[in-house]
Structure formats: C-alpha cells, structure tokens
C-alpha cells in the first residue's frame, strides 16, 4: 500500500455531547476513523452536536461517517459545516438505501444437495446435448454434400494448416523422443535375455498399432480441441454466432463442419508421420546403441510388423480426429456469459477429448484383437 500523502491526521474530541472533528475526512483516513470513532464515543449516548468547522476536506467516505452518526443518533445536528460538506452529506444520505451485496445465504445441506443435483442434471444435459450436437454435425455434413453451397473448402484448408501443418514440429519431436525412449527401455529388459533384436518388434508394432496414433491424438486434443473451444466461445460471447444466424448462415456449416473435415483428413496423416518419426527414433537408438544397422532394422521391420497393424492405426485416426473436433466445437458453443466460461469450457474440451480418445482406443484394441488381428 503506498504511503498516504502527509496531511494532518484526523482528530476526534468529545466534550459533553459535542463531537469535534478536525483534519481531512477522506478515504485515506477511513481506517483511522473507523477505529477511533467508537473509542471516542464510548460511554456517550443520545444526540450529538457534530462540529465540522475544523474539517479541511471531505469526500464521500468522510461524509458517510458523518451521515452514519446523524442516522444512528437521532436528533444530532451539524455545526460549522461548509456548503460543500453539507451537499456531500445530503447526497450520501440520499444514497443510503438498503442494497443487496451478496446472493441470499442458503443452508449448508441444502446448498450441497443443490450442487449435487446440479451436477447430475448437468451430466445428463451435456450427454443429451452433445448427442444432439453430433446429430446436427452429421445433418450439416449431409446438407453440405447434397444441397446448398457445399463444403467450404477454403475454411477446411485453413483449418488443415492450423491443426495439421502447424502441429508437425511438436508432434514430430515428441514422437521421435518417444521412439528413442521405447527402444531404450525395451533394450534394457530384452538385453537380459540377449534378445535385443526384438526391440524392432517392440518399436514397430507398438508404434503403428497404438502409440503413434494415441499420442498424436492426445497432442492434437491438447492443441486443437482447446483452440476450437476458445475460438468459437469467444465468437459466441461477441454475438458473432448470432450474427451468422441472422444473415442466414448456419454456424454448424461454417464453423463446425470445416473443423471436423480438416481433422478427419489431417489425423491419419499426422498419425502416420508420428509413427514414422517414432520408428526413426527407435532405429537411431538401435543403430547407435545396439549396433543394429539401419538396413537390418528396416529389413526386420518388414518381416515382423504385419500390414494389419498399419491399417488398425490408420482406421482409428479419422475417428479420433472427428471426435476431438466435435468435442472442441461443442464446448465452444456451450460458452455463455463471461470470460471465465471460455476458460472452463476450454479446459473441459481438452479433458473430455483426451478421455474419449483413450476410452475409444481401449474399445478398438479389444475389438481388433477379438476379430483376430493379433
């Protein structure tokens, strides 16, 4: 707190029923006034005569203190107040109306039960609206294909650049490092059996079948689901979405569809790219540390990784992409009210997208194993 400018401090003197105030009655002195006033008035009762003749300056806070005295001690009167001070006190007195500051207090049990109910309601509400949202997206997709202006490919390419091309650096680096870690940790265990060569099986199969796509999906969920939610949320707050509707543009068609299509197209490409870089990382480690030359690595990779692994990975990618995009856009449309809501919805978008991706990946794993792709 900055030091208050040096001014004579406020002083209070009580003689009989005569309260003398001197100095500056301003907000800078409010702390002193609040503490000293009850002390100075201790033991005195009944109407006061408040002498303001030695007051050097007053603002509304000072006026409020004087007004409070006049109000709480009926019959009190002012003496020596300047015209400005009187006007200020009158203005404050005029504004002394009961104003509610806080929402009504609700008892603990009722409040917590209310919260629980709100959660349950919110859960089912989100479930049904998100299903409806997926339906709306499909309808918009169908309409775009069969009638109207068709898919907005300009917007799709912009989104492909933002969600795909711009993500190449970080996803590539991450996959490369994961490949090295996978090979290195696998090698430590496999060396105990003298079976380092199986590092190639480990890296190749795990990457194409699971890790390449899963880690890419998690990264994309973090990057793009949040971006979609924040972009659409901010547009919603600024009434841009409403403006589109009034012009007759369907927000599903211009905002959601291009994002979903871009993600469906980009996710397999990103997943393939990530898998390759992961293999490169693993291969580099195998070459430098296990002395398996690249030619042998590639040769062995072709022998042990079945093509079904590749197709399993690639078949999951567009599904993950579509879901991440839909969840991001859905949460964006749920934004309402204030800036805080944008933050909440963005967080929710990322959490839900990652959660859905992992749950769905588990289903895929069980399904493909069950139908015999081992």
């Amino acid at each position: 707190m900055p030091a208050a400018p040096a001014a004579p401090p406020v002083t209070l003197t009580l003689e009989g029923d005569r309260l003398g105030l001197a100095g500056r009655l301003t907000i800078c002195r409010a702390t002193t006034l609040e503490a000293d006033l009850p002390l100075a008035l201790a033991g005195s009762e009944g109407p006061l005569t408040i002498d303001l003749s030695r007051v050097e300056g007053m603002d509304t806070v000072g006026a409020w203190f004087v007004h409070r005295l006049l109000r709480d001690r009926p019959g009190s009167r002012l003496e020596g107040a300047s015209a400005d001070a009187e006007r200020l006190i009158a203005e404050v007195a005029h504004a002394d109306r009961p104003v509610r500051l806080r929402p009504d207090h609700v008892p603990f049990l009722e409040r917590e039960l209310g919260k629980l109910g709100a959660y349950v309601f919110e859960f089912f509400h989100t479930l049904s609206t998100s299903l409806a949202f997926i339906g709306l997206t499909l309808v918009a997709g169908w309409r775009a294909l069969t009638q109207g202006r068709g898919v907005r490919w300009g917007a799709v390419t912009v989104q492909m650049e933002q969600t795909g091309v711009n993500a190449l650096g970080i996803i590539g680096l991450m996959s490369f490092l994961i490949g090295i870690v996978l090979a290195q940790q696998g090698a430590v265990q496999l060396q105990q059996f003298g079976a380092e060569i199986f590092v190639i099986n480990l890296v190749g199969r795990a990457t194409f079948r699971e890790l390449g796509i899963l880690l890419t999906a998690i990264m994309v969920a973090g990057r793009s689901a949040s971006a979609f939610a924040a972009q659409i949320g901010a547009m919603k707050l600024a009434e841009e979405v409403d403006a589109m509707r009034t012009i007759g543009i369907d927000p599903m068609e211009v905002l959601v569809l291009p994002r979903v299509i871009a993600m469906i197209l980009m996710m397999p490409l990103l997943a393939f790219y990530a898998s390759i870089l992961s293999i490169v990382g693993g291969g580099l480690f195998a070459w430098l540390s296990l002395e398996i030359p690249p030619a042998t690595f590639v040769q062995r990779l072709r022998e042990v990784v079945p093509l079904t692994d590749f197709w399993i990975g690639m078949s999951k990618a567009p599904v993950f992409g579509a879901l991440i995009a839909v969840i991001g856009c859905f949460q964006g449309f749920q934004v309402s009210g204030n800036a805080e809501s944008v933050g909440q919805r963005t967080t929710l978008a990322v959490v839900q997208a990652i959660f859905v991706v992992i749950v769905l990946d588990a289903f895929f794993a069980v399904f493909y194993t069950a139908i015999g792709f081992k």
């Binding site: 907000i27 400005d84 203005e91 104003v99």
Partner: protein, 270 residues
C-alpha cells in the same frame, strides 16, 4: 478562487501505430473542476488520447502530466499513487466479468485500503445507490445486467476511491435517450458534490450541451480548438461547422436552449 494550474497537461503528444500517425504535436490543458468534452470524427484518436493520458499507451513523443506528475516512467508505487487519484469508465464498461457488481466496486477499495468488511459493504452500497442502480443489482454478475446498468456499475467502480479526476469514454453511447439524460444529470451532480474534474469523450451532442464546460475538438491529428460551444460554432473549420451546424447539432442546441436557459458553467465562474 480555484487553482489555475492545469490538472492534466499534454504537450507535443505524438502517437503512431506503424506508419499511421494518429497524433502529431497535440497540446491540451484540462483545468481543475471543469467538465471537458472531447469530440472528433470516428478514428480521429479520441480513445488513443485518453489511453495516453492514463498511461496505457506509451506515446512516441511528447509529455503527459496529470496532477503535476508524468504518467509514464514511474515505478510501481508512484503509479499506484497516481492511479488512485482517477477513475476510468471504459466504453464497454470493462467490469470484471467473474465478479458481482458489489465486488467490482470493492476491488479498488481492497487494493488500496485495509477496511473492515462491514465498512466496505456500506461504501459499496451507497456507491451503487448513488449511481442509480436498483438495490437488487448488487449481487448480480455483469452478464446479467443491461447495457445501461453495466455503465452505471462501471461508473460506481470508477468512483469507488472518490477520485479527483474522472475519465469517461462515450458514457452515453448505446443508452436510450431517457437513460442518457439521466446519466448526464448524474455526472453533473457528482461533479458538483464531489468537485470532480471530468474528461469526457463523446459523440452525443446533447451531452455536450448539457454538461460540458468546454469542448476540445480533435481533427488533423491535433486539438484544433478548446472552448465553449458558442465560441466553437464561430470557428472556421469544415468539420467543426458540419458537426455543430448540421441538423443534429442544431437540434441539440435548440433542445438545450429550451431545457436549460441558465446554462452558466461553473468553469466560467472560476
């Protein structure tokens, strides 16, 4: 009677965004206790001037002094000392959206003073009542308020520290005429009771006639004139002529003549 040192002094201000020069050699003095209106076409740099005065915009050249102190180049303590002398009402209100109206008003109080909760509640109540908000507005969030109520709540926050100086950026824009008239009256009353100096950016001709002591005109990247409206009307500048003598300007002048014939301004008396 009044201190004739200007409360705001802007000298040789130059603001530039890339190649676009917004202000060049702009000078302006605001006297204590006056309501100064600032007018100018859209994009003439009214808001940029406001931002320069309150230190949000670092000028390319020139010097800005408020209450005798430079507004840029201070350390944090000096900045805090200066900023609590003024209140700012932004165009859109700029209320903190995660807080209720009452909490918004209490933000500056909490920042600068350690008052008891009870006193802070009382201060917030009378400020809320003073700007003409209904009693049930206190616990509401900004998103639950209408445009006019948001402006009033933002004004209550701007007035929370009883500032000497009040900056208003288009206070009546977007209000219905009755609400705008009420807002004009409110600012006038507050100025008279609290002895405020008001720096007011507006497009609203009625507001200019109703409450401004002097009007500054921004055109051609500088202040081309600062004077009473009657004197400005005589000014030979195409924009000024069109502004005050166009149909809207004449209508506002006539309305004002009918409403407040005794419009002797307190600045003129000073």
């Amino acid at each position: 009677m009044r201190n004739r040192e200007p409360i705001i002094r802007v000298q040789g201000l130059k603001n530039q965004f890339g190649a676009q020069v917004v202000h060049q050699g702009l000078d302006l003095d605001v006297m204590p206790g006056e309501i100064l209106g600032v007018v100018g076409g859209s994009g003439s740099g009214k808001s940029v001037l406001l931002r320069s005065i309150i230190g949000l915009q670092q000028p390319a050249e020139g010097h800005v002094e408020v209450l005798g102190r430079a507004v840029t180049g201070n350390d944090a303590t000096e900045d805090a000392d200066l900023t609590r002398q003024w209140g700012v009402l932004f165009q859109g209100g700029a209320l903190f959206s995660g807080m209720t109206v009452a909490e918004n008003v209490q933000v500056p109080l909490r920042e600068y003073f350690s008052l008891s909760d009870a006193l802070m509640g009382e201060i917030a109540s009378y400020k809320v009542a003073m700007v003409g908000l209904p009693p049930e507005a206190g616990p509401k969030y900004p998103s639950e308020l209408s445009g006019g109520m948001k402006k009033r709540a933002a004004l209550a926050r701007a007035l929370a520290l009883d500032p000497q100086l009040l900056f208003l950026d288009e206070p009546t824009a977007g209000l219905d005429p009755i609400a705008a008239q009420g807002f004009d009256a409110l600012i006038r009353t507050l100025k008279e009771t609290m002895g405020l100096t008001v720096f007011l950016i507006t497009h609203d001709l009625d507001t200019l006639y109703a409450i401004c002591d002097r009007v500054a005109v921004i055109a051609d990247r500088k202040i081309i004139a600062v004077d009473r409206i009657e004197a400005l009307k005589q000014l030979d500048h195409p924009w000024v002529q069109e502004y005050f003598s166009g149909p809207r300007g004449r209508a506002a002048a006539t309305a004002q003549g009918a409403r407040r014939p005794e419009s002797a301004s307190s600045y003129e008396e000073a």
